[in-house]
Amino acid sequence: MTTQSPPEAVEAPVEFVAPSRLSASQRFVATVVRSREASIVLVLVLVIVAATIASPSFLFAETSWRDLLLTPSILMLLAVGQAVVVITRSVDLSVGSVLGLTAYLTGRLFVDTNLPIVVVALAAIALGAVLGMVNGLVVALARVPALVITLGTLYIYRGIVLSWAGSNRINASDMPDAFGRLGTQSVLGLPILFLVAVAVLVAVGYYLHTARGGREMYAIGSDPDAAVLYGLPVRRRVFAAFVLSGGLAGLAGVVYAARYGTISSSAGTGIELQAVAAVVIGGVAIFGGSGTVWGAAIGAILLVTINRALPIVGIPDFWQQALVGVLILGAIVLDRILAARRARILVEARDAQGATA
């Protein structure tokens, strides 16, 4: 009754899991619904619903809606960059200092020169990319662990900002009005800065998912030694990850300048840990090789929205950091449980296959 060739023949591929009987679209929906990212979206929706029930103006007032999307934009950009770095099994702790430096550069360029906004933004992104390049060179070439190097550059870049700025600060009135308006303008109800963050998210997400470089980054994070043996350009990819993280931090600096207007030398202090927290909550494993930038971005939105929603629900905002800590721990434990379950399912399927063959 079997039409299969005898076991020695190589034509029939070994199947560990039976092919799905669902259609392509059904499969897509099933993947999305059961994905790790869906769980965070669920939590985010719950938080927003709870806050809106407590105070309808949270969602429906014009400024609140704008703030809901605008405030997380900065952290979204940082989280996307951090996700790429973490996927390659590194970490970048210097993004906060890079943000401060590029935000200050943006302000300084507006005050001292007459360059158009686009040029200033590109200059800030370029500076961020250069700063990321320093990290990338040392990690990729000198083989120094990323944690140590980015810790060092965190101090160095922050020191540079403090020396450069001194006790000066750039005021909102020093910058062109058009730039300040960017911080609050909306297109079709969505703030411009939010659209910028979403555009970056889509671009990076598409690259990671489809481009060869992106898939190689996952491979490197998953098993660096195997990647080297397989012949992947490990150093180039890791270097690129850090340059991307730095460049996005530079863009985040421009967004910061547009949103907050006033830039002091303490801009961005401490935001690097928030970026790593957003990435972890978003499902990116800290040892690399899995997770998506979508998850990281939603994690960033969740973190910022919780900050804003807590006081409305009645929890004094002093407890928000504790809640963030619980979220992070919960996310890590959840990921561990899911990974263990997945491994068990695969092992069981393999054993079952072996038993029936």
Binding site: S55, E62, T63, G166, R169, G183, Y260, S266, R308
Partner: protein
């Protein structure tokens, strides 16, 4: 293995001995400079220590101090922590004591936490003058106050009452939770509201920690939490500037009144576009100037800080020390659309 560890032990012992020896060497030299700080006269070294660096209010006050010091030929320096915390300030007081600075002029982040460092500095011969935000009597030689706390608090309450029609909900956006001056003013504001403005309700006191971004976000949060808010008082120049900036781009502009203490340069744009009607301040440059002259008078021995002492403060004239070793600059001044163009600080 054991052999190797003996060498390690030897190294540990060696480095400990070396460290102790090095510090022991240092003990003898340069130790007798205890009282060398006094009587500096025209070469007085005065260090300005604001609540934190990067604050335009303190940039102005310290500039006034620098001008005064240039006038009487002393040496000026400015140090400060990045964030307005008492332990950050304490380190600088300690450093000034180590360097035998003649006088420290500071705006305190906390009334009690700095007292020990201040006492060590005073023991080392340094005069300690507080301005803008006090530590407490017995914890400094002199306090130069910009105006009476009552004056400052009541003028702000009066302004908000005017602007919201003496009825409604208000909130206060302060700086750090421990700042002496902020808490003194808030206490008086609460009493004033209870006795003279019973129809005004104080919803909340929020803390922007004198950080621009935090104050900006806290304003957004206040407007979110209290949809019926009609007014915000912000008795801190950083807070009112951040709040004005947020308010001017939100849909509450013109519906929620904002007042408090602000600098004309930072607030000019928001007064002209209607976000803010009126706010108050004094001249921080004069405050720093006066504080520097007061420090010089102490260092020279002209005054000791007790009540009734008088000293001359350059172009500001003569000043007398009042109760609790306090010197008053004057009264707060109200800024609005009609006069804001005349000032540049």
């Amino acid at each position: 293995m054991k052999f190797q560890n003996k060498k390690v032990l030897g190294l540990v012992a060696g480095s400990v001995v070396l460290a102790l020896a090095a510090t022991g060497c240092g003990k003898g030299s340069g130790d007798g400079g205890g009282a060398a700080g006094g009587g500096g006269g025209s070469k007085a070294t005065i260090t300005f220590l604001p609540k934190n660096l990067g604050n335009p209010y303190f940039d102005t006050s310290d500039k006034g101090g620098a001008n005064a010091i240039k006038e009487f030929g002393g040496t000026y320096s400015q140090v400060g922590p990045q964030d307005a915390s008492p332990d950050g300030q304490a380190q600088y007081i300690d450093t000034a004591a180590q360097k035998h600075t003649d006088a420290i002029v500071m705006s305190a982040n906390d009334p009690k936490a700095l007292c020990d460092s201040v006492k060590s500095a005073q023991d080392a011969g340094t005069k300690v003058v507080t301005f803008d935000s006090d530590t407490g009597p017995g914890c400094r030689d002199l306090f130069v106050n910009q105006a009476t706390a009552e004056g400052i608090a009541t003028v702000e309450v009066d302004m908000i009452a005017d602007q919201i029609g003496d009825a409604g909900e208000i909130a206060i956006l302060s700086s750090t939770p421990n700042a002496t001056n902020q808490n003194a003013w808030i206490e008086i504001m609460k009493k004033d509201l209870a006795t003279n403005h019973p129809k005004i309700k104080l919803d909340e006191v929020a803390y922007g920690t004198d950080d621009d971004q935090t104050s900006f976000d806290k304003t957004a949060s206040l407007l979110q939490k209290h949809p019926n808010l009609k007014g915000i008082i912000s008795p801190t120049t950083i807070g009112i500037a951040a709040a004005a900036r947020y308010l001017s781009t939100s849909d509450k502009k013109g519906k929620v009144a904002l007042t408090g203490l602000g600098t004309p340069n930072q607030m000019r744009k928001y007064v002209t576009d209607g976000t803010v009607t009126e706010f108050a301040l004094w001249n921080p440059e004069d405050l720093g100037y006066l504080a520097a002259y007061a420090a010089k008078a102490l260092v020279d021995g002209d005054i000791t800080g007790k009540k009734g002492d008088t000293f001359k403060a350059g172009k500001l004239g003569e000043f007398k020390v009042g109760d609790d070793q306090t010197v008053l600059l004057g009264d707060p001044f109200k800024f609005n659309k009609s006069n804001i163009g005349q000032f540049n600080f």
